[in-house]
Symmetry: C2
Subunit: 302 residues, 2 copies
């Protein structure tokens, strides 16, 4: 059984927070990895409300430097220092993030118990990988440099246990060869790799926050198990969405359908829809049924 990916919505509001929706921040947890996507004002308090420890954060991905996605950074980074965070904190963001963070850290004079490495992602594609997973980015359109991101567990060859049992192959180095993709020989008999293994597709979680609709989105988020999208407006206000460089929930539904994604979560919810998120939901459902509106502290396990 593969490890689970946990996606926790710490904040789900658009530009102005409400009593029930904090500014944007999402925590993705996979094994020891804790990746924070955006960090709106109040994120550290949301960690406390969710009974999560911000000291476990390993990476922060910033989609763009608008305040509703970043004004929680000074407080969070100060608190990490106060709590004697000891890791190197990796912060990734679009063009300009290095200069922003440099001025930012200088201004706030945050006394740090730890090292911060800021990575400017200026190209589309993979920007991080290890044995377990990959992180990819794509450029979006929101007036200032803006990235979409996805997290993907690597595809893995897995042993077909039933077939191994039948074949009476022994445990050990031979099976290891199989998951490395090799064919094997046992007691003079040849076994083909493809007959005894299957490919487990790594789960993919995509984050498309503030952006105007553009042609890069669908190929980028293709086959997402969880697709998280900016839903600042319903299609009733599609001209306003366009003017403000945001997606509509109908566009989100269309993206989910065309990208063959499994599940769509609408977030970045304006106070306009505080008591009528149904409107956003119905709008997305014109194209795609497996959709939910994110709630603060809401959790999805993939």
């Amino acid at each position: 059984m593969a490890s689970k990916i946990n996606v926790r919505f710490l904040g789900t509001s658009a530009q102005i927070p409400s009593p029930n929706r904090n500014h944007t921040s999402i925590l993705l947890t996979y094994k020891e990895e804790n990746i924070l996507i955006d960090c709106g004002e109040g994120t550290q308090t949301q960690f406390r409300k969710a009974k999560l420890n911000p000291g476990k954060i390993t990476k922060i991905l910033i989609t763009h430097i608008h305040g509703d996605h970043t004004f929680g950074l000074p407080g969070l980074l100060s608190t990490l220092s106060f709590n004697e965070y000891k890791k190197t904190l990796h912060i990734y963001g679009p063009r300009g993030i290095k200069e922003y963070m440099k001025e930012f850290l200088g201004l706030f004079g945050i006394e740090k118990s730890y090292k911060i490495e800021v990575h400017e992602i200026t190209k589309s594609g993979k920007f991080f990988d290890n044995k377990e997973f990959e992180l990819h980015s794509e450029k979006m359109q929101h007036g200032i440099p803006t990235n979409a991101y996805f997290f993907k567990i690597k595809d893995k060859l897995r042993i077909n246990k039933g077939k191994i049992k039948k074949s009476k192959l022994p445990n050990g180095p031979l099976l290891k060869k199989l998951i490395e993709g090799k064919d094997i020989t046992y007691e003079k008999k040849k076994y083909k790799n493809k007959d005894l293994t299957y490919l487990e597709n790594g789960k993919k979680i995509s984050f498309v926050l503030d952006t105007l609709y553009n042609d890069k989105i669908i190929p980028f988020v293709k086959n997402s198990n969880l697709l998280i999208c900016d839903s600042s407006f319903s299609s009733e206000l599609k001209q306003q969405a366009k003017d403000h460089l945001h997606l509509t929930s109908e566009q989100d539904g269309m993206i989910a359908k065309k990208s063959k994604s499994e599940k769509l979560i609408l977030t970045h919810i304006s106070q306009r829809y505080e008591h009528k998120t149904k409107e956003l939901l119905e709008d997305a459902k014109k194209h795609f049924k497996q959709v939910e509106v994110a709630k603060d502290l809401g959790e999805f396990i993939i």
Copy 2:
């Protein structure tokens, strides 16, 4: 009947916020005046929770530029702009506040619909007054430039209505002369001002946040109707309080007693006391009985 002063605690935590205590911020409302004292992260959300409109703020007083007292400014100032605030916003703070706000506003590129005037208070004493009230500051000791503040309604001569009725003096210009402090003559009879008026003492609300105990505090807060004090530690941890340049709740009680204040409110509450604020209360009560521990969104009407 004099107008009431309303003091609303928007945030009451020490350095690290908790699910129930946001970072420090207090709103003082008197007639059309809305004065915010400090602006920790999340203050704009606390306004929403309290169903208050941040667009009514007239002045912001910053005690010192530590993050737990200021990291709510970028979000609040952005939201005011988004909501088309049209007044001139006056921000007061200790030495260094001008440079801080200049870098701060530059970094965050807040698009402003309004003018901000930053006032650096480098001297002790009165720094603002109008017909209605005065604002005073005093220098505190907290490692960086730090001010304590008080708000005081001006003392006013009031007509003693009972005595006026007996005297049969007519309404109008004569009574106006009385509240200007003058003696009057009516139908050849002389009336002394002091016999027909009384002095109404203006209410005084004092804010002594992060500071080491020092001799300036008691004379500064003398005769406060409401005295709000840093209560980061109980006296059990008095050495720690001293090391971190904070007051203890016992010192707060002693200050309230010696300054002949009417009521004491303890705030800047550490998560250490989350479930034992009684300890702080008992500590203050060694000297002064009229004491409460502030709660987020708690309100005092004076």
